[in-house]
């Protein structure tokens, strides 16, 4: 298990390799990326900041909780901070488990908890040159975001399952 905040681009393949083990039959790789549109406004970049020490502590707590709930220690999470361009990965979660059900569930648990608890903020940079803190509390991003009421923008994410 490993969780960390990084500045450099995240190497998703390296995270996937890190959780690989012959006893695991399923690996779920979650990659959250910077999207070009928010609330109808064109976005051309994002700056992430964090309360780094607390963010790393919360991420470690979340990984431990997922390990206990879903029965795997093969969980690696990296969240990037700094200025990111469109399409770049802001967060990558690699989970491996003997079975796919638990791997998916653990991956989902980690991202949903991360979005609720980890003290990270994003300053969106719009095409018109203005910048604005994304406010999870405003509710403006929660509309139509999917079946789970607690997540904020799951539609900017991609999930790949590898065997």
């Amino acid at each position: 298990m490993r969780t960390t905040i990084v500045h450099a681009p995240i190497d998703a393949a390296a995270l996937m390799a890190e959780v690989a083990r012959n006893s695991n039959g399923a690996t779920v790789l979650f990659v959250g990326t910077v999207r070009d549109l928010n609330d109808g406004r064109p976005v051309n970049g994002m700056e992430y900041t964090a309360y780094r020490s607390m963010a790393e502590r919360e991420m470690a707590d979340i990984a431990h909780e997922a390990a206990t709930r879903f029965g795997t220690m093969d969980i690696v999470v990296e969240h990037r901070i700094g200025v990111l361009e469109l399409g770049e990965a802001s967060v990558v979660i690699a989970v491996a488990h003997p079975h796919r059900g638990e791997a998916y569930d653990a991956s989902r648990y980690v991202i949903e908890q991360l979005k609720q608890r980890v003290p990270i903020w994003k300053l969106e940079q719009y095409e018109d040159g203005t910048r604005e803190w994304v406010s999870a509390g405003s509710g403006k991003r929660e509309e139509g975001s999917g079946p789970i009421g607690t997540h904020l923008d799951a539609d900017d994410d991609s999930v790949v399952e590898a065997r």
């Binding site: 959250g32 992430y48 900041t49 964090a50 309360y51 020490s53 607390m54 963010a55 502590r57 969240h79 802001s90 967060v91 991202i111 991360l114 979005k115 609720q116 608890r117 980890v118 003290p119 990270i120 903020w121 994003k122 300053l123 803190w133 994304v134 406010s135 999870a136 509390g137 405003s138 904020l152 923008d153 994410d157």
Partner: protein, 80 residues
């Protein structure tokens, strides 16, 4: 006793500072520290009950502080 207050993101912008120190009486709580911050210019933009943390853990307003504690006022998180 001295406690440090950390501000982030929109809250840091509103108050024009990322950290500050307050001399608090013994027995002071998280809510007491928040009250001191509220007296500062720009603090009117803080919500009525912001998320708070003490020494990197979320904490309630009733939490009693000790000398050297690091209190953070946490804007709505937006990671991922």
């Amino acid at each position: 006793m001295t406690v440090t207050v950390l501000l982030f993101a929109s809250y840091a912008d509103s108050l024009g500072a990322r950290s500050m120190r307050f001399d608090m009486p013994q027995g002071a709580t998280v809510a007491d520290v928040l009250g001191r911050v509220r007296a500062l210019p720009g603090a009117d933009r803080l919500p009525s009950e912001p998320l708070m943390a003490v020494n990197e853990r979320y904490a309630r307003g009733t939490r009693v502080l000790e000398a050297g504690d690091e209190v953070a006022i946490i804007p709505p998180v937006a990671g991922g």
